[in-house]
């Protein structure tokens, strides 16, 4: 059950984060530089990717509920037992959050099917809400009162930073891979500027999270269990930062070396996916061993 939950967290967080980041990149941050792209054929690819991500988000959200029910009630049968599922949804904190989150997942999937006919503000709004309702589940729920609320708010900012970075990277990879009529150097330079703000946001909110959860700047023991996975995650994020620096150099060059850029962005995406895997594991480990 634990392994299932880890896989589920990974898939669900991955889908929701990417969806948010891609939609924000397309509809808000780079809406004007992408105008030519939105009129071209490659936009269909992005629309299809978004639909699959929305489907994955919905399926993994349902699976997450079922696995949580099985985990709480101590039996695999409880994953499909309507009574247990109702008990989880109706009587637990996770359940209350998840009712809203599931509804938003379904809505996001519906919207992704007819994205071209709807006003762009709709997918942006739904994806923001979908991302934010992920903040209260997990370790953020372990404090009550004002402290818990602040931690959830902090987690929201952390998620927005991470989602914008990862989704933006995925979008860059897509744009670099497809031949479309966009001003790539301009987009790259702008993304790398936004990236600085994002990384600052991610690092600061991440540090606050660790401080609040472990009661220290770094968990103790430092390099086993929670601390070890956190160290791996931090190392992966540092690798991403190094690659981001490389990307910036490459995008400033007089002549754009596309193969290099492509490889560097893809590698950064892989590090991002690995970091996300580490996070999925973190959520199931106690931040401190008593």
């Amino acid at each position: 059950m634990h392994d299932g939950l880890i896989a589920c967290r990974f898939l669900h967080f991955g889908a929701v984060l990417l969806m948010f980041g891609i939609v924000l990149f397309r509809r808000v941050l780079f809406a004007s530089p992408l105008r030519a792209f939105e009129a071209g054929p490659v936009r269909r690819t992005v629309d299809t990717v978004l639909t699959w991500l929305a489907a994955l988000a919905l399926v993994s959200a349902v699976a997450w509920l079922m696995l949580t029910a099985a985990n709480l009630a101590d039996g695999w049968g409880d994953a499909i037992d309507p009574q247990t599922l109702a008990l989880v949804l109706g009587n637990t904190f996770f359940g209350h959050v998840w009712i809203v989150h599931l509804a938003l997942s379904a809505l996001a999937f519906g919207i992704s099917l007819r994205a071209s006919t709807l006003p762009p503000v709709l997918p942006v709004l739904i994806n923001i809400l979908l991302l934010l309702t992920l903040a209260p589940v997990g370790h953020g729920a372990m404090f009550d009162g004002g402290r818990g609320l602040l931690l959830v708010l902090n987690q929201m900012l952390h998620l927005i930073g991470v989602a914008t970075w990862l989704g933006g990277l995925a979008m860059l990879a897509l744009l670099l891979g497809a031949r479309s009529e966009v001003d790539m150097p301009a987009i790259l330079r702008r993304f790398s500027g936004i990236g600085y703000v994002l990384v600052a946001l991610i690092v600061v909110t991440g540090l606050i999270n660790v401080r609040a959860l472990s009661g220290a700047l770094w968990p103790d023991p430092a390099f086993s269990e929670f601390g070890l996975v956190l160290a791996v995650k931090t190392a992966l994020v540092l690798c991403m930062l190094a690659l981001a620096g490389l990307n910036r150099q490459l995008s400033r060059a007089a002549e754009l070396r596309l193969p290099w850029l492509r490889a560097s962005v893809l590698l950064e995406c892989l590090f991002g996916a690995a970091a996300l895997g580490a996070v999925s594991l973190l959520g199931t480990l106690p931040p401190m061993l008593a």
Partner: protein
């Protein structure tokens, strides 16, 4: 110094900070209980278990048993297991019948509000 460097330095700082950590924390562990573990009390009406974080009453189980003669034990029926309406860190267990004098064992399986599980056991004694 570029912004990139500053951010790297910040991250390194967080790595260094690992050298200065002290604190104790876990998934919902039992912080205190009434009657207290290994204590002697007279006729408690209820058991109060205080955890380090909020627990889900529907998925938290508490089994009370009374040591009988020899190795035998008697399971004590509970009337209710519920969190304190004012504080979901406090779990109140009400036995169906008043606890008779004897040695009791309490086994708890808690599910915290962040859906993690933990368990433990303690004993107390009821004197006439």
């Amino acid at each position: 110094m570029s912004a990139h460097r500053i951010k790297q330095a910040l991250s390194c700082l967080s790595m260094l900070a690992c050298l200065t950590s002290t604190s104790v924390f876990a998934h919902a562990h039992l912080e205190s209980q009434l009657p207290a573990a290994d204590s002697e009390v007279t006729a408690p009406k209820e058991l109060r278990l205080t955890f380090s974080e909020g627990v889900e009453e529907k998925f938290t189980k508490v089994a009370i048993s009374l040591d009988g003669p020899g190795d035998s034990t008697e399971i004590i029926q509970t009337q209710s297991v519920a969190t304190d309406p004012a504080d979901n860190k406090v779990l109140i267990v009400t036995p169906a019948m008043p606890l008779a004098p004897g040695k009791y064992k309490v086994e708890w399986h808690a599910a915290s509000v962040d859906t993690h599980k933990s368990e433990g056991v303690y004993r107390f004694k009821v004197t006439p």
